[in-house]
Amino acid sequence: MAAATPSDILLCLLILSLALGVLGDANPFRGVIIFIVFGLVMALSWTRLDAPDLALAEAALGAGVIGVLFLVALRKQGEKDVSLATQRLRLNSVTIISGLLLIVFIVYLGALGVFSAWKTPGKGLVEPVYESLHLTGVSNPVTAVILNYRAYDTFLEIGVLYLVMLSVFALQPDEKAKFTSTEQYDRMLRSYARGIVPFMVLAAGYLLWAGAFRPGGAFQAGAMLGGAGILLHLSRPAMLLDMRGLVARLSLVAGFFSFCILGILAMLYGFDFLQWPSHLAKHAILTVETASTLSIGLTLTGLYASVERKLISPAIFYSGEEDNP
C-alpha cells in the first residue's frame, strides 16, 4: 500500500478546515462560498484517489449546480426572512442528547471499525469487473458498473431526478411565470451566453461520448448541459420554456422512459430486464445515456429556474431591493 505523502496530509487538512469553515462561519453567505470551494477541493481529492469520474461529477454537480442553488436560496433571503433562517426546527432536548450519545457511540465503534477495516482490506470486485469488461460494450469500468452491471440502480436513480422535478411541479403555484421585459437583462451577459453556450453543449456532447472509454458520462454531461441551461436562463429568461409545457415534460422523462423501453425490449427478446446483449451493449448504453443527459440537463435548469422564480438574476442588480448579503 502506498504511504501518504505530505501533500496528502495537506489536502486532508485543507478539506477538514474548509468543512469547519462551512459549518462554523457566522455569515451564511460566506459559508456557501466556502462550500463551493470545499466541493472543488473534494474533486481534487477524488482525482488523487484515482476517481476522475467522481471528480467531474462533484465539480459540476456538487460544487457547481448545487452551489449556485444555495447562493440563490440565500439571495432570496429578504428582510422578513431573517427570522425564518434562524428559526429552530422542532428539535427537543431529548433529541440533542440522544444525538450526542450517538456520536460518542459512533466514535468508539468508528475507531474500532476504521482500524480493523484497514487491517483486513476487503477483496472488492476489481477482478470480476475487469474480467467481463469486454462484454459490457464500454471500456470505462465506472460506466460499465453504472450502466451495465448495476443498470437497475441507475435506472432508479434517474427516477430520483425525475421525482425531484415532479415535486417541484407539484408545489409550484399554478400561474405561469411572468417576465416583464427583456430590457432588464444584461446585454453583455446575453452576448456572452450566445458565444459560450454552444461550447458548453459541445463539451456536454464530448463528455457523454467520452464516458464510454474515459472519465465522463451521462451525469457529468447532464450537469454541463444544466450549466448551459442556467446561463441561458440568466441571460434571457423569456427564452426558457415553462418546464410544465409538453416538450419540456417529454424531455424530462426521456431518460427514465428510455430505460423502461430498452428494459422491456430486452425482456421481450428473452433477456433479463435491462440486460444488454454484448454486441448491442454500446448502442443501448449510448441511447440511455443520451436521453438521460438531456433529462438531467433540463431537470437541473428547471430546478434552478424554479428556485429562482421571480428574482431573475441580473435584474436584481438594478432593482435596489436586495441587500448586500
Partner: protein
C-alpha cells in the same frame, strides 16, 4: 500511514463534523450544508477504501455507488432548497384541519 487510511479517517471526521453541524446549527440552509458535508465524508470514506495504491487499479464498484450517491444527495439538497424557498412565501396561518384550502 497509508493513503487509504488517511483519507478514510478524513472522511470519518467529515461525517462527524457534519452530524455536529446538524445538531448545533438551526438555520435550514446551514442544515442543508451540514448534510452535504456529512455525505461528502461518507463518499470520501468509500472512495478511499476503493483505492488500492499507486500502481493498482481502483475498485470501480464503489465509484459507481458514490456517483449514485452524489446524484441522489444533490437531488435531495435541491428539493430541500426549493422547499425552503416555498416556505418563505407562506406565512404561518391557522389551518386547523391541516388540509388543503
Amino acid at each position: 500511514m497509508t493513503v487509504a487510511l488517511l483519507y478514510s479517517i478524513t472522511g470519518f471526521l467529515l461525517f462527524l463534523m457534519g452530524i455536529c453541524g446538524l445538531i448545533f446549527r438551526s438555520s435550514l440552509i446551514r442544515r442543508a450544508l451540514a448534510l452535504n458535508i456529512t455525505a461528502s465524508g461518507i463518499f470520501l470514506f468509500i472512495v478511499a477504501q476503493a483505492y488500492k495504491g499507486e500502481s493498482a487499479l481502483p475498485d470501480p464498484v464503489p465509484h459507481g455507488l458514490v456517483l449514485t450517491g452524489i446524484v441522489i444527495g444533490a437531488s435531495a439538497t435541491a428539493l430541500m432548497i426549493y422547499l425552503i424557498g416555498v416556505l418563505r412565501y407562506v406565512s404561518p396561518g391557522d389551518n386547523d384541519s391541516g388540509e388543503e384550502e
